[in-house]
Point group: C2
Amino acid sequence: MTDTAGPGPVDPDHDRHNARMKRLKVARDRLQARRTIERGLLIVHTGNGKGKSSAAFGMAMRAVGWGMRVAILQFVKGTWETGERQFFAALDSDLLSFESMGEGFTWDTQDRARDIAAARRGWERAQQLVLDPAIDFVILDELNIVLADDTLPFAEALEFLAARPLAKHLCVTGRGARAELVQLADLVTEFNEVKHPFAAGFAAQKGVEY
Amino acid sequence: MTDTAGPGPVDPDHDRHNARMKRLKVARDRLQARRTIERGLLIVHTGNGKGKSSAAFGMAMRAVGWGMRVAILQFVKGTWETGERQFFAALDSDLLSFESMGEGFTWDTQDRARDIAAARRGWERAQQLVLDPAIDFVILDELNIVLADDTLPFAEALEFLAARPLAKHLCVTGRGARAELVQLADLVTEFNEVKHPFAAGFAAQKGVEY
């Protein structure tokens, strides 16, 4: 902090605010000093609101910014054109890989056996990525969707995730996260829809929904 | 959809599932056909959970993937080193600009007059970006923070946002979004903290928190 801004005008409200912030800062520093554990986190983004995958992609960006290696694997979502796919392709970074293992939503495939086979292929790949010591951050996008109804057997996935290497962060997204996964996780955010443009008659728009 | 996977094994549960998905698909398509409005959305990310800024950055990436021009302006957050700052600097894209106008959290500055001046400078810049016809998507990161306690006068900001150009998307992030802003917005997601690693004694870690 430099002195270039000067002391500012005298204002008793400001003085009270500033004194309050000094006390808050002391309390925050004391708390922060007790937060010392560092290891890979199991992160879950769930809920019916928008932003679960976007927030995971934002973390991917953040990690790549620090030179970490990130792998994004999408379940469910197929090969249709999205902004994120084009962005990652253009980025062409050694630090980031992006793969889609899905064949679309189950109401599009309308084929349970096919959904099960796609989830299985995705899960085999997911395990490789999680076990690969060269990767620092793995994002399993929409994994919750295939776990919710056992398209992928939940017990098997939970056992693997509980025994995961703790040297890397792992983020699982998708609505309907199962309770045992939430219990196992270190960081869980629920994304709640307060207002959605679809309800007001908006189309899905580029840059926002895809 | 190709036929390469074959019809799969006969399973009455699968048949019921597939028939249910066919009906769901019809219902979804009917709904989708009524969603036709396209214009710039006012998006709000709020709540006490993690991911509000990350989700906005993820949308920025998505928009850049489609060749849209995106401007990110951070309030409150200062010049400290973060993964996103390094990522955007390395990206060096004509499609994306990233600026921080803040001087840190108010418990760090401990100077209300200085906070007010920084918010004012940020707001002047924000208005330029929103009014610039060359920009397709503007992200005002942490704006809610300075609106919550009128560090920036809320009435003034609300009036400007209500009269904003509808040709671009605008995303406002930060906890404590004010009710009139939520009312004005087209898309609002509340990020709720279910479980946070700080509470379990974890330090803030690279790639996750910054």
